[in-house]
């Protein structure tokens, strides 16, 4: 685990990052002038998945590193953020296209993070995807199962439930996460519908 934390994102994503890194085809996250229109809950720091996962192509499991090996995906520790943001001050990504106001705004968000780290006060993220206490959702089983079945890399399976987070400026819940939704998928994939797989 220590090893993974110490490596830069590209090292982890390996080949994939190389193969898709043609600069022209790269997704560029939009400039957001009015955050009030965005769906999903407002987070204490305006962390943009579309910038990190979309534009910068950081694999999901760089931050949510335990998703493929544990039942809980975990949320990255502040150290993970600061690992990059010690150097990356924000406001210089391609997608901004030189918009100085936007760049200043993004730098301000990075500054919030740096302050939190300095004051050792982690931000309280608002939970977007929550299941009731009586449901078990082992992330690693789903990631393994979906990636095997669909023949894709583990990071590509997240979207099945979480939606296209890579292009979400602010993360919102796209699936109902209700039992009917779970069961529907289980039946489509002919996996068990036994109650005690999720409820115990």
């Amino acid at each position: 685990m220590v090893l993974i934390l110490a490596l830069p994102p590209a090292a982890l994503s390996g080949q994939q990052a190389q193969s898709t890194s043609s600069p022209s085809s790269r997704y560029q996250a939009p400039v957001i002038s009015d955050t009030g229109d965005l769906k999903g809950p407002r987070q204490p720091i305006f962390f943009r998945h579309d910038v990190h996962a979309g534009e910068d192509q950081i694999p999901c499991m760089y931050c949510h590193y335990s998703a493929a090996v544990s039942s809980e995906p975990g949320i990255p520790s502040l150290q993970t953020c600061i690992g990059c943001h010690q150097v990356v001050g924000g406001g210089s990504r391609r997608g901004l296209k030189g918009d100085t106001t936007a760049a200043r705004a993004e730098r301000a968000q990075v500054q919030l993070l740096r302050n939190a780290w300095r004051e050792r006060q982690p931000p309280e993220w608002i939970r977007v995807h929550a299941l009731p206490g009586f449901v078990r959702f082992p992330h690693m089983r789903h990631i393994k199962g979906l990636s095997t079945r669909q023949g894709v890399e583990a990071n590509a399976t997240c979207a099945t439930c979480h939606g296209d987070v890579k292009h979400m400026t602010q993360v919102e819940q796209v699936s109902t996460l209700r039992m009917g939704w779970c069961v529907h998928c289980h039946m489509q994939n002919t996996v068990t519908r036994d109650c005690s797989v999720c409820h115990y």
Binding site: R178, M179, G180, V183
Partner: protein, 452 residues
């Protein structure tokens, strides 16, 4: 008003007399009526408050104690379902048998049935642990794609009780329609409007009578197996389980007989004051009571026979757990409940062999009260004592005692029942007008020997 009454009939009891006597029961209520109604509502209030407590804090407020997981609530449930049985029996089965005497008592019995089922139906909702999820027992399409388990006797129960409630309600309403029309034609003011609406255009024309009589006959024919099935299904709640003292093939007929027995008892209990208060002595005669008493005697004897059978089979089977269960029942810590039940249901009805007792309404009233008590205890014994004496594992040395919450809900159920019953008898004819007339000789211009 009949001009030349037939000699065989008392002069006073004519069609008109019947209509007016029965319609008089709907006159402005007395203070006593309001006192009774107030008492019923007060009891109901106790029940509601208790229920709120149960909802807030949990079923732990009741006396439940491992392994007695069903107790007073289910006892009351079976008690009220049992009460509900004589109504349809009297109105449907005796109708099919063309028993003339039923006409004077069947309306009361049928109303009692409907309200008793309404009461009984509350208990399964109250007694479950998460009352707010009661609708999960209903097969409705839902997002989760889940259905109830039709193998569970509780689902059978739900269907049986639901059907019984529906059918007995429509049966009661069907019977009421011609009578409401009769009352409508006497009433004035808002009541006339109410009855005009509820009699849905009844005139007594030959077309109406033609379909009505046929339909009523089919309803009776459907209700008859239903009556037998409902209490059989209720008995299977127990007989399908493997608890010694429950798991017996005799349960269905035993419960049906017990139900009719308790129902007849309750009919006597209810009719006695109604008859006196509303001055219906000439419509509901001692003969009616005697017939009810005979029915009690018959069903009571069947119940007594079932008791003997149960004990005999427990001994004769040689099954040690069965024997232990019945030994516990008779001589265990709940012996008093068992013997109350045996005396009230096994021995008390034997008094009805004596014609003097059978025709003494005061005596019958007292006996009927004991019948009710005895039948309540029968369910208590079957449910609580069988569970408490569970002989499979010695873990089961139960210390069950009901608490205020048990009694509160039970009181509430009596309040609920009597509230509806009292409201009913003051607003709708408590004795069938048209059917009582049917057993009277029709008015003729010249005396005739035509059969009644």
């Amino acid at each position: 008003m009949a001009e030349t009454p037939p000699p065989t009939t008392p002069t006073r009891v004519t069609y008109d007399y019947v209509t007016r006597t029965i319609a008089r029961t709907l006159s402005t209520p007395s203070r006593g009526y309001f006192l009774l109604l107030g008492a019923a509502v007060a009891l109901l209030a106790i029940g509601i408050v208790t229920l709120l407590y149960l909802l807030r804090y949990g079923l732990g407020l009741a006396g439940y104690s491992h392994p007695v997981y069903w107790a007073v609530f289910i006892t009351c449930f079976v008690f009220w379902v049992g009460i509900a049985h004589s109504g349809t029996l009297i109105s449907a089965i005796l109708f099919l048998f063309r028993s003339g005497w039923r006409t004077a008592v069947y309306r009361t019995a049928e109303a009692m049935t409907v309200f008793a089922v309404m009461t009984a139906g509350l208990f399964p909702l109250i007694h479950i642990g998460r009352q707010w999820y009661f609708y999960w027992l209903i097969p409705y399409p839902n997002e989760r794609g889940l259905w109830p388990n039709f193998k569970s006797p509780l689902i059978w129960d739900e269907f049986a009780i639901g059907t019984y409630f529906t059918v007995s309600t429509v049966f009661l309403i069907m019977g009421l329609i011609p009578d409401i029309a009769a009352v409508r034609d006497l009433a004035t003011g808002w009541r006339k409007k109410l009855y005009a609406l509820t009699s849905i255009g009844w005139t007594g024309s030959n077309e109406q009578w033609r379909h009505y009589s046929r339909g009523y006959l089919y309803l009776a024919a459907l209700a008859t197996p239903l009556v037998l099935s409902v209490h059989s299904v209720v008995s299977w709640d127990f007989a399908m389980a493997l608890v010694p003292g429950w798991h017996a093939t005799i349960f269905a007929p035993y419960f049906v007989a017990g139900a009719i027995y308790s129902g007849c008892g309750m009919v006597i209990t209810l009719l006695t004051p109604i008859r006196t208060l509303f001055g219906l002595e000439e419509i509901i005669t001692v003969k009616h009571f005697e017939n009810l008493a005979k029915l009690c005697l018959l069903t009571g004897s069947i119940v007594g026979y079932a008791y003997v059978c149960e004990y005999f089979m427990a001994w004769y089977s040689g099954n040690p757990t069965e024997r232990a269960a019945f030994w516990y029942r008779a001589f265990g810590p709940y012996w008093w409940a068992s013997w109350t039940m045996i005396i009230c249901n096994g021995f008390l009805p034997l008094l009805l062999w004596v014609k003097k007792i059978r025709t003494n309404i005061t005596a019958l009233f007292v006996i009927s009260i004991f019948v009710n008590i005895g039948m309540w205890f029968e369910r208590y014994v079957i449910i609580v004592v069988s569970l408490a004496g569970e002989p499979f594992t010695k873990w089961a040395n139960a210390v069950y005692n009901p608490t205020w919450a048990d009694w509160g809900i039970m009181a509430g159920s009596f309040g609920w029942f009597f509230m509806w019953f009292l409201l009913f008898v003051k607003n709708f004819p408590a004795v069938s007008i048209s059917e009582v007339k049917e057993v009277l000789p029709p008015p003729r211009s010249k005396p005739s020997k035509v059969h009644v």
